[in-house]
């Protein structure tokens, strides 16, 4: 019965949307990269960097949206570095991605410590306010960034399935030879996709500091990037399903938080925390065989080679 009460709890659904937002941004970012054929394990670090630069911009007096923009630019820059390494040069996408994550994370932490050497409690900013004037329950407790995230889903769908660029992008991950044979530069296309996808990852990070919390602290991304990497397989590389996956994951996370708060459960809280990860693996097992991976995912494209 306690579970039913939980489902009826409006606060739960507010939390679901909040928790899902960075996952939606991040998963869409991963989707862009992987549809073009590039695995981007830099996401975890790019989110940290986006969280930091976005927050720093606002802390230094910038507008909140300027902070989002700077976070996107940070993500784009790191994406450009990743693309340079794995698209321009055919280096291992696994290793370069992990390298980017380590680089972006450590550089952000370093920069934070240099800028704020002796603070005990993290400095705060005025974060995005809830859209209370919307007067729609649940939604009026979200911020504009959440709305932006969910607006990105149909936008990306349109881009992928309704525009010539989207077609070229999908083809770049399926058969770069086919793209090149039509006189389109696969390398530029992939670089563009990785940069755009990484910008979304940067925004995903910025949501944490500019909307979910109002400060930057260590370990705040806490594996959310890796979750996005798992969600995209679950979503079969489709924007709509990616959103669904993010919501599902967020639901389990929110439910465990509520149960933990109310103390209405006999099970240790770690079990609930584990659930989303375990379910992700189960979901992967269920869909992996049927999943139609982008055929050339992780295959470097070298012009003139097949």
């Amino acid at each position: 019965m306690e579970y039913l009460a939980l489902l009826a709890d409006q606060e739960l659904w507010v939390a679901v949307l909040r928790i899902a937002t960075p996952l939606v941004f991040g998963t869409l970012g991963v989707l862009l990269c992987e549809r073009a054929g590039v695995l981007n394990l830099g996401i975890e670090g790019i989110m940290v960097a986006g969280a930091f630069t976005g927050w720093l911009t606002v802390y230094a007096g910038g507008h909140l949206w300027l902070g989002v923009l700077i976070a996107a630019a940070t993500g784009a820059a790191l994406g450009a570095l990743h693309a340079l390494l794995v698209v321009r040069l055919p280096l291992s996408q696994h290793v370069a991605g992990l390298g980017i994550t380590l680089f972006a994370t450590s550089l952000s932490y370093f920069a934070y410590r240099v800028s704020f050497p002796k603070v005990d409690s993290p400095p705060k900013i005025d974060a995005f306010a809830p859209l209370t004037h919307l007067l729609i329950p649940i939604l009026n407790e979200q911020t504009a960034m959440t709305v932006l995230a969910f607006a990105c889903v149909p936008a990306l769908w349109w881009l992928l399935y309704k525009t010539p660029l989207g077609l070229a992008l999908r083809a770049a991950g399926e058969s770069p030879q086919a793209v090149e044979a039509q006189g389109i530069d696969v390398v530029r296309l992939r670089i563009g996709a990785v940069i755009a996808g990484s910008a979304l990852m940067g925004v995903a990070g910025a949501f944490l500091t500019l909307s979910a919390f109002n400060s930057f602290f260590f370990n705040m991304v806490n594996g959310r990037g890796w979750i996005c990497i798992a969600l995209i397989v679950f979503a079969s590389w489709r924007p709509g399903k990616a959103m669904l996956g993010a919501l599902l994951f967020a639901f389990f996370d929110a439910a465990q938080l509520r149960l933990q708060q109310t103390g209405g459960s006999a099970l240790p809280y770690q079990i609930y925390l584990m659930l989303p990860y375990v379910l992700s693996i189960v979901a992967l097992v269920l869909v992996a065989r049927k999943a139609t991976y982008p055929q050339e995912l992780m295959q470097p494209y070298i012009k003139g080679q097949r």
Binding site: F103, L107, L284
Partner: protein, 355 residues
Amino acid sequence: MRLEARAHESFWANCAAALAAVVFTLAICAVLIVWAKANVWSAYQAIFDGAFGSRFAITETLTRATPLIFTGLAAAIAFRARLFNIGAEGQLYAGAIAAVAISMWLTNEAGELLVSKWLVFPAMLIASALAGALLLLVPAWLKLKYRVDEVVTTLLLNFIALLFVSLLLDGAMKDATAMGWPQSPALHADLEFSKLIARARLHSGLLLAIALAVALALVIQFTRFGLYVRAVGANARAARFAGIQSTRTLLLVAALSGACAGLAGVSEVAGRTGYVTLDMSPGYGYSGIVIAMLAGLHPIGVVVAAIFVGAAIVGADAMSRAVNVPTYIADVIVAVTLLSILVAAFFAKMRVVWR
């Protein structure tokens, strides 16, 4: 612009590439040091002194390097077979928990070992290795049976493993004397690794790590299994065609790799901390991947790379106390080295044809 493989791989080109990567890294980090308003020369000097400047510093560096050798080997052997084990962090904790579990299980109320420590000690090592191996065999099996990408599953298993450890430290393996702090009971004193040098933390786990590295190097280069691993890693289809049972080879590699990471856990518990906490590894599992790549996936290279990374961490610690540059510079050094070595090694193998 076009890239062509060099016909001959030149030893000097490789050396020059490594040197270029190091110079590039030092230059990048010099910028960061200047930003932190410190003197570059004295900062680098402080790092070096902190890592190698005294007998104590050297033992600290080697103590740091010890778990990194284990996790580096775990990544190196797995990546050789193109099994992308990103889960060494979780496997390390599995090994650590297994060690303490064996110690608890074979200790009586009075705190005495039930059987001779000459039996319990190897049992502890084996249990840790097995625990790590099991944690990687699951994703390896899922990969072979259901084609589930092991990168994702091993990553997720890290979180699951850590939560599981947290669960144990709250329950079955809670140390009642720790005043609510989540930590396990202490390992039995007889099971601890011996110290190598008086008044230093350096322990015999280092010797175990080096022995393991040498053994793996020999296995990869000189045995049939090693050749199978290299063949499966380079081209799994061709390997199968040549009659190699790639499934068996990959499962064995998974067991070996997970065991290496599990041994990192027992080495930390029995050599350094004495009990399991949730922060006993500051990402040693992830660093292992970086180390394996720095080493070009060669086991002996892993030892060298692990000492380099250990020195960066220990040295940066000392430097931050001396000249007030945040310790995160150590991770920046490692990350930039990794990326620049990747690029440099590539250009040592390929040449650019401008056309």
